[in-house]
């Protein structure tokens, strides 16, 4: 059982998150990765510190963190363990959706339990044949007496194997609708146990086997609202991934500085060689630049500025690519040691690749960013 060694009175600051990550998470993250699981006791400890409720209003028992503070927390967790950060991410996405679009009854029923971490939430959009293309979603919600029957299989559900609540996108008549579905006998997780990265994030396919939910389980109306809801939820997740990617880059830098000053070649520390210094300089610059992009996006979010949407796309595009490059360089600097699956930089390398794909791949980010330019030029 994980025992926290130090009380952490605040989750709102970077310092508290950094301290927790250094003391409690980094020392065990490689083991989590190898075990492909984060123990329940550790997740409960994280919940006890309030991190699952960081973005939920104090009205419902959360910390009410600003985007700036929330991003700093997710950067630190990303530095420690992308799997743990991913669990916080999907949980926060669902919490945000309920707080922004839920009914008063839905907010009162779910948010206090999500804020305390009593239950974990997961986000069910992707399907094997549809990806995240909502137009191709095959999961259905059929109107029946007293509610809805949901039937279908969702893929790549982060946290799906341990979640107590699912936010499910389903075809409902001629439009997409969203439902809050508690885990139960008819929601069957099928763990995905051969992931390249974020191996401890409990990714699973979720089979919804004709699940009956009441009318009140529907979140918001259908149609345009669902499209807005989806775009907004993914924006929350994208910002977390961007921040976590800065953390990966920082982690690569920290490991590489430590290794290159300790390891000697030809009687001189590796860090004395200019080719090593070039890699360290690139990593350090990427950390500062990526953090600046995330903090810009966060400030825009906190101001309610619509430019935050594009700002978040740019932040995620830059930071995910930077993390992948930093991880490549970190493995290179560590040589054969870095090629061991159990090495921290190998974990960063695998996790960083995932960051280039989730919440909008690098290529999709490019298309969106360029698309805005296309609108501006009228071509």
């Amino acid at each position: 059982m994980t025992q926290l060694t130090t009380p952490h009175p605040s989750v709102l600051g970077r310092e508290a998150a950094r301290d927790f990550v250094d003391r409690e998470l980094l020392p065990v993250a490689d083991r989590f990765d190898a075990d492909r699981a984060i123990p329940r006791e550790f997740r409960e400890a994280v919940a006890g510190l309030g991190y699952f409720g960081a973005n939920i209003s104090p009205t419902f028992g959360g910390a009410g963190a600003s985007a700036l503070a929330w991003g700093a927390i997710h950067e630190e967790f990303g530095r420690g363990c992308s799997s743990m950060r991913s669990l916080l991410t999907v949980h926060a996405m669902v919490a945000w959706a309920i707080e922004r679009h839920g009914s008063a009854a839905q907010r009162e029923e779910w948010l206090p339990r999500l804020a305390s971490g009593e239950i974990q939430a997961a986000f069910c959009l992707s399907e094997h044949e549809a990806g995240s293309d909502t137009a191709a979603i095959a999961t259905t919600a059929r109107r029946v007496a007293g509610g809805w029957r949901i039937d279908g299989t969702k893929a790549w559900t982060t946290g799906g194997a341990v979640a107590g609540l699912f936010l499910v996108f389903a075809q409902c008549d001629d439009a997409i609708a969203t439902f809050l579905v508690p885990a139960g006998p008819a929601t069957v997780p099928v763990p995905v146990d051969d992931l390249l990265g974020t191996r401890a994030s409990f990714v699973a396919d979720i089979v919804f086997d004709d699940v009956l939910v009441p009318d009140e389980a529907r979140l918001g109306p259908r149609g345009f609202s669902s499209a807005f809801l989806l775009t907004s939820i993914l924006d929350v997740g994208r910002f977390s991934v961007a921040s976590g990617s800065v953390g990966i880059t920082q982690g690569c830098l920290d490991a590489s500085v430590e290794h290159s000053t300790r390891r000697s070649i030809g009687g001189r520390p590796l860090a004395d060689y200019q080719l090593t210094q070039a890699k360290l300089a690139d990593m350090a610059t990427s950390v500062v630049a990526g953090r600046a992009l995330c903090e810009r996006a966060a400030s825009l979010k906190d101001a309610g500025d619509p430019a935050s949407v594009t700002g978040t796309w740019m932040a995620k595009y830059f930071t995910a690519r930077a993390a992948a490059q930093a991880a490549t360089d970190a493995v290179q600097l560590h040589g054969a040691a870095g090629c061991r699956d159990s090495h921290r930089v190998a974990r960063y390398y695998r996790d960083a690749k995932v960051m280039e794909i989730i919440e909008g791949s690098n290529e999709v980010q490019q298309l969106v960013i360029a698309g805005n330019l296309r609108g501006a030029t009228g071509r």
Partner: protein, 84 residues
């Protein structure tokens, strides 16, 4: 004091300056507008006019044109609407 139709029109034209836009034109027929810009437009309306758009008003028709969005702002900020 802001004038909703003017502000909303300016916001759209800032992103799509080459578009000929009148207040009744269907902006979703322009061709470039996607769900991301629609999200930005919702955020713009909420932050500029200090309103929270309820789920039932988050409809395509309420954002289909400059006039429709301005009418939405009018409804959400008119105290008589709140009373009724």
């Amino acid at each position: 004091m802001t004038e909703p139709a003017r502000d909303i029109r300016d916001f759209i034209l800032a992103r799509y300056p080459h578009v000929q836009l009148d207040d009744d034109q269907d902006i979703f027929e322009i061709g470039f507008i996607n769900s991301l810009f629609a999200t930005e437009l919702v955020m713009y309306v909420e932050s500029t006019f200090s309103v929270l758009i309820p789920n039932e008003e988050l409809t395509l028709d309420n954002f289909r044109s400059v006039r429709a969005a301005a009418d939405l702002v009018q409804r959400l900020t008119d105290p008589r609407e709140a009373v009724s």
